[in-house]
Amino acid sequence: MTRIGRWIGSHLVLTGGLLVLLYMYIPNIIVAIMSFNDSSGARNLYAFQKFTWDNWLNPCKPDNLCSSVVTSIEIGLLATLGATVIGTFAAFGLVRHRFRGRTAMNLVLFLPMATPEIVMGSSLLALFVAAGLGGQLGFWTILLAHIMFCISFVVVTVKSRLAGLDGNLEQAAADLYANEWQTFWKVTFPLVFPGILAAALLAFSLSFDDFIITNLNSGQTVTFPMYVWGASQRGVPMQVNVIGTLMFIVALAAVIIGELGARRRRKAIASR
C-alpha cells in the first residue's frame, strides 16, 4: 500500500498533467472516432454504431455542409486579411507615436474583446438595419462584423511584439544607410512578423469559429458553425466530424511544421 502510495506520489505531477491533457483532448478524440461511425438507420446519433469509411469518402454528402465550410473559409481568410492589415497599422500607430487620446484609443480598441458577443451581435444588427442594409444581410455583413471584432485581437498581439522591439535597431539601420522604406522591410518587418503571423492565425480561428455575432447578421448565408447548429436540431450528420477532424489535423500539422522548422533552424545555426 505504501509502495503504491509512494509510486503515486513520485508520479503525481506527471499523472495529473496527463489527465489534464486527456481532459482537453477528449472532445477531439470523440470527434475523430465518430467520423468513422456508420449512423445509417440508427436511432441514437450520438452513439457509435459501426465502423465505416463512408463519411470520409463522401464528406459533402449532406446538403449545404461543404458550401458552408467554403463560406466560412472565405469569410475567415478575408476577415483575417482585413483585420491583420488594419490592426497592424493601428498597433504601429499606438506604439510608435505619441498623440492626444492615445491612452483612450488603447482602451477603445480593447473594449470589443471585453464586450459580450450577444451585445455586439445585436448592436451590429441594429446598425446594419438602421443603415438600410436590413435586406442585404449576408456574406458582406458577416465579413464586416468579423473584421471588426478581430481587429482588437490583432492590435493587442502585434502591439506586444512591437513594444518588445528594440528601437535602437531601427536607428542602427538608418545609421547604416537604410532609408525609411528599407529600414521597415529589412529590420522592422522581419522582427515583427512572428507577431503579425500569430495575430493572423488568431483572427482566422476567431472568425471561423464565431457563431453568435454571425448568426445575428447572416441573413440567408450559412457558415459552418451555423450549419452545425442548425443540423444539431435534427441530428448532426457524421460528416461534420470529418470536417472537425480535418481542421484539427490541419492545426496540428501547422504547429508541428512550425516547430520542426524552428528546430532545424536552431540546429543549422549551431552546427555552422
Binding site: 535602437n168 532609408n179 545555426i269
Partner: protein, 383 residues
Amino acid sequence: MSQVSSGTGRDLRLVGLHKTYPNGFTAVHDLDLVVPQGSFFALLGPSGCGKTTTLRMVAGLETPTAGTISIGESEITATKPYNRPVNTVFQNYALFPHLSIAENVEFGLKRRKVYDSGKQVKEILALTELEEQANKRPGQLSGGQQQRVALARAIVNRPEVLLLDEPLGALDLKLRRAMQVELKRIQEEVGITFVHVTHDQEEAMSMADTVAVMNQGVIEQLGSPYDLYTNPHTTFVANFLGRSNLIKGTVVGREGTGDDAVVKVDMHGTIASIKASKVHTDSKDGWLGIRPEKVLIQPEGTAIDAPGSSIPGCVVTDASYLGVSTDYTVRMPWGQEIICFEQNTGRRGGLIPVGTKVDVSWRPEFAFLLDASQDAGAGRQED
C-alpha cells in the same frame, strides 16, 4: 563616401550646436567644437552631461534646436542619418538579431550597393578576429564579440567619422582594457576620425588624442590628456579627471613677466607661487589646486625634496597602503584634510605612522589656481 586621406580638411565641425528637448530640458548648450580629421577624440563627462545627445545629433538621430554640423565644407545638419558619411557603434550594440554576423556587417554595404561587399566583409571580420563567428547570430556571441561585431559593422563602411557611444560600457574591466588597446590599434590602422563618448576618464585619457570634458551641456575644457590633467581650468575638470586637493587662497600679488610670471597666493598664512599660465581666475580669491601625487610629505624636521615653500605643522590622519603606493590623508594646520599619494619606492624604508607630525610641500609649477566662485566639490566622483 570618399575615402579618408589626410590633409583634405574633412574636419568635423560643430558650430553653436544647441539642443532643447520638448520637455524644456536643455541637453546641449551652444556647443562649438572642431574635431580634426583622423584624430581620436573623446567626449568625456558624467551621465546627463549632453555628450550622447551631441553624438546623436552628429549621427542624425537627433535634430539640433539650433546650430550647424559640417564635415569639411559640406554641411550635414539637416541630412538624413542614412545620407551621412558617419557611422555609429551603439552603446548596447543594436545588432540585428535576425541576421547572421556576416549579414550584420554587410548591411551598410548592401544598402549602398557596394559590389565587392563580400570581400570587404571578409577583410573586416579578419581585422576584428571574427571569421569563426561569421555565420552565427548575435545572440550566440559573448559581450566582447558582440562589441567587435558592432565595430566591424560600422567601420566596414569606411565612414569619415566613426561615433562610439560608450562602446565598452557593458564589458568587464579586463575585457575593457583589452578592447581599449584594440580600438586604438584599429583607429590607427584605418585612420578614420573617431569620436568616442565615455564617462570613464581613464578610458578617455588612455585612448584619445584630444579630450573634451563636458558638463551640463557645455564643454568645460578641451585639450590633450596631459594638458587637462596638469592644467585644469575649472574645479569640475580638476575633480572629474583624477583627483585634486583644492585649498582656499587669496591672490596677494604678481611677480615676473612672460614665462616666468607667477601669481603669489596667500594660503592660510603660507605664500605659494603659481605659474601665471595656470591661473584661471580674475578675482582676488581662488582655489589653489594640487594633484595628490604632487604633494610631498616628510616627518617634521627632515629635509624635503622640493624647492617650494613647505608648510609645517601638519599631521597624518590616515594611511592606506596599496602596495605600489600609499594614500595618506594629512590634516593641514588650518584643519582641512588633503590627500597625498606616495610611490612606495622604498626610499623612506617604511610607512609614516598615523599621528606623525609632518611637513607638506610641492613644486610650485605643479599647482594651479581656479575661480573661487566654483564649487570645490564639482565633478568629484565617489570612490
